[in-house]
Symmetry: D2
Subunit: 320 residues, 4 copies
């Protein structure tokens, strides 16, 4: 392993820069050169790359976003795009490739792996935390804290106006972000796509909460549950009270990474280089049972990470 | 002046609690007792009040929201409600009343003033900053900083994805919040209700910006300009590029007040008590020409605070 | 188990309130009543306690500090104090006692356990993270992030002035806080009490760093390493350059807990009640191998938690 | 005016980068070229400068520190250094020079002005806020908010342990930072160098506060008042209670500037360019009576800005 590439792909997550920095510096300590491909898979298809040195990744550990840019490539989805990327990896003499991204990026990486001899290692970075094979992704803790900070502020208004608020958070089709955010802000109700929750049940819970003396309520809803605007209107109608909707948006992706997102970035980079120096590829690194480890890329792509149902039940108990 | 009341009314703004604390403690130092009316005007109509002592307002200077709760009273809008409030002020022996709120609350206060002999003083607190008679309202600086923090994070994503973002901020029908936020985040374009800005002009400016080498752009839009969702779609169509919309919501109202919002709260409370001890009422306090001063309540209600057009022009120059 | 007590003891850590709230509400769901002892062990000795209900712990999940107050009791260190506490537990009919605190508090709890039949469960909360039996304590993640935020700011000045900064963080006799903070801020050097690091070695490393083109440096030092003021002076002398010292102080204890500290508080409380309802005592709960579990109180007290030496080595590699 | 230089000098303050960006972009809009001198006055003495374009100052509005670096030049203090700087300004064809800094930097600028025909304009940036001619300096609001955030956290611990805390903030020989910080955190006592405050008086006030039922206290002390460590020990002795000292250090200089510090940076830059395009020099810009204006550099250097004694008295009333 003399030269590796690194690419950030899909939606950005805070800590991607910390991961890039760590990969470059750890590789450097092992006498491995690093090139950065720009704009996600597009950079592989167009061979748009630049050398990265320990100095060129200075001062980025605390920055959100990705200095390599990212994209959701439409071209890469086609056989032709993948082949072109594989050719470029060969031509550019890239022995190993670190793919920093989430679920979708790893599916692309899996397809690419069948066309190239370059060893591919995935480093999970996603605010959705929906990667099988790791308890936590880079950027998840940052996204949760951003949402929590915002909802703490919204609660001031909820209490002052004695109102019900629905706060929609990101997470695509999954409820990881909503669940951890909901339990840590002390939400009265948490709505995730993994669990059906009828409107009657929501109303029943809100009335119960009201009967206990609570005059305001926060409902944290994953974007994956459907139309929150419509939900707000329905609750308003049935409760006979004003309901406000607030959407915590793209800010969840950016901002300076939390210590934990930075730490994961460092640890995952370390494991990725460990694999590559042993010529092992087609794996993703991850955090399992409190330890950094790795798993087959294919297994990660084919399995679905379960939501912690015990945590959801605990959240309900805590909302009393 | 032996006993005064204090009430928070309308939309909450961060720093209202700091103002309540300051009013109670300054009044105490002048041997004036303070009662807090709860839930805005409703508290006056139902005579729902509680005594406030220096100790009972301990530990609230840093809290968002209002310990007195607030509401947008529908009853108060009617003659009957106002009369009831006036009667209660007399019965409760309230010699002076401090109304902490914005434009709408002051209009209510003006109506009330014609029915009561209680001296009324308005303390401007609003995230909209649209009160004539003060350069700045309590809570404005906090709201701006919350929006700025969020847009700083969004810019990470905008840059990484090389995308155009529209960020909608609050401000009701006015552009104060959008303008100050826009110029301090370095927005490429700022859209305020006070200035017509055709879609062609937006497109022209975005293309100009692109031509200069900028690959991402932030448009800060006041909620008062109309449908930002529709605007995003139109720009998307005309630029042939993805445009994302993010709405900075209710978080702008809450959160711990900034130092400046707390300072204004203290200074305004000081001036309010100064007026009341001199038996002067029907005034609002405010910051003008860098000094805390006061003006007729009626003047404040009848005049419209102008937006700083020079600042808007400067923002355009800075966006180059 | 019909009635339990809860006490916060020793140095405060952010998330203690979240833990109190969770204990009260989970207990309530199991029909167990909860009393809060005030001011740490002193509250047991003086039987100073108050009932806690789900409503009385409302709105505290996001608050730093502890609503039960805390202290480092000198009386409790004596046999007599412990006996008095045991007597009070019996008289007050406290079947179980949850002790929220760190290492020192658990040693006190162990002594108390031999004098009482009340089942004692420890919930680790400490910014020092030095409790054997858990990978992480409540408040540690918050303390780390507070230090990281502050050092990110200090780095602005370090870079602008091209200076060397020593930043001292807390952690008592251990280096957990310094290590995690150091690696996540990208410190050039991390000094922990667990590893001897001669002054010559520090100078050598700083010169090496300088030779690589780095014009500023951040040294993160645990308070346990000794006199950082003296160290600053020595480095100044030997490097012939200005060295600044900054001490990140008590702010590390307080502030709103991070999502992770709140989550741990909830999970630990859940496990504590799980143990108590099974009549199991003399244990501490903890996070091990990514799962919440428990261990003998005595084992936790008698063993020393090792510092992660691999992480320290990785930090050095990353500082290149 | 065809070419101007810009230099940041003295201690850094957050918002210096926003000022650099604004100067470059406003100058560009007036067809004026800009060079940045590096490392404060040293850059003028060694003619170390680089051209700055609207693109080269992209993405810096939100960054602490200064991209031009800064220093406290010892060479500049000598006649020879000043002459060399003046010669270089002539040789480099610099028609105007914007000096971003505080009091000390302006004294240097005044000396330089007598040796050069280059028009010099000072832009006040300092966390100390001690520049005569402006109510507020760039970076002051940021420093205050950083201190306030930290003290809000410390108060959690102060309350939980029922302890007295002394918190030392920066401000050099003046009390502006301590006063605004103290009143906005609700400090029980504020100590500034401008007002003698005997130890007996402090003790008297603390006992009074204790008698009112306050069990903890925050004393905010300016660094200029002398040895706070010694003060803590004395209070400890006389109150018979633990007193903790926390020093809010260099973090006050850095960090992302608040909206207000950014706004001031933009407005001051606008006024500076306004002066330079009219060929007016030897002035500093500033905020007076709520408006951006300017004054003779010499006047600013020779007069001492008074501390707002009314504010200090108000702070005492509010501490009741």
């Amino acid at each position: 392993m003399r030269t590796i590439g690194v690419v950030t792909s899909g939606g950005d997550a805070s800590g991607m820069n910390a991961a890039i920095r760590a990969i470059v510096r750890i590789a450097h300590s092992k006498n491995i050169g690093v090139y950065g491909f720009e704009r996600g898979w597009d950079g592989l298809i167009t061979s748009s790359l630049r050398p990265l040195s320990p100095r060129s990744v200075s001062g980025i550990i605390q920055l959100g976003g990705t200095i390599l840019y990212t994209s959701r490539s439409s071209q890469f989805m086609k056989k032709e795009g993948i082949r072109k990327a594989a050719q470029n990896l060969a031509q550019d003499n890239i022995d190993g490739l670190v793919v920093i991204g989430g679920n979708g990026s790893f599916k692309g990486a899996l397809e690419l792996s069948s066309e190239t001899s370059t060893k591919i290692v995935g480093v999970p970075a996603s605010i959705d935390n929906d990667v099988f094979g790791t308890d936590e992704t880079i950027g998840f803790d940052t996204a949760v804290n951003t949402a929590v900070d915002e909802i703490d502020k919204i609660r001031d208004t909820a209490i002052s106006h004695e109102r019900i608020f629905i706060v929609e958070v990101m997470g695509r089709t999954r409820g990881f972000l909503a669940l951890t955010t909901g339990i840590t802000v002390g939400a009265e109700i948490i709505l995730v796509p993994e669990v059906r929750f009828g409107k009657e049940e929501i109303i029943r819970r809100l009335k119960e909460s009201e009967a206990k003396g609570k005059k305001s309520a926060i409902i944290v809803a994953a974007e994956g549950i459907g139309d929150t605007r419509e939900l707000a209107r329905e609750i308003e109608r049935k409760m006979g009270a004003e309901v406000r909707l607030s959407i915590v948006g793209y800010a969840q992706r950016g901002g300076s990474p939390t210590a934990r997102s930075r730490l994961l970035a460092n640890l995952f980079a370390d494991e990725a280089l460990e694999l590559l120096t042993k010529d092992r590829g087609n794996r993703i690194v991850g955090l399992e049972k409190g330890k950094v480890t790795s798993m087959e890329l294919e297994t990660s792509c084919n399995k679905e990470k379960p939501l912690d149902m015990h945590l959801l039940k605990l959240a309900n108990v805590l909302a009393t």
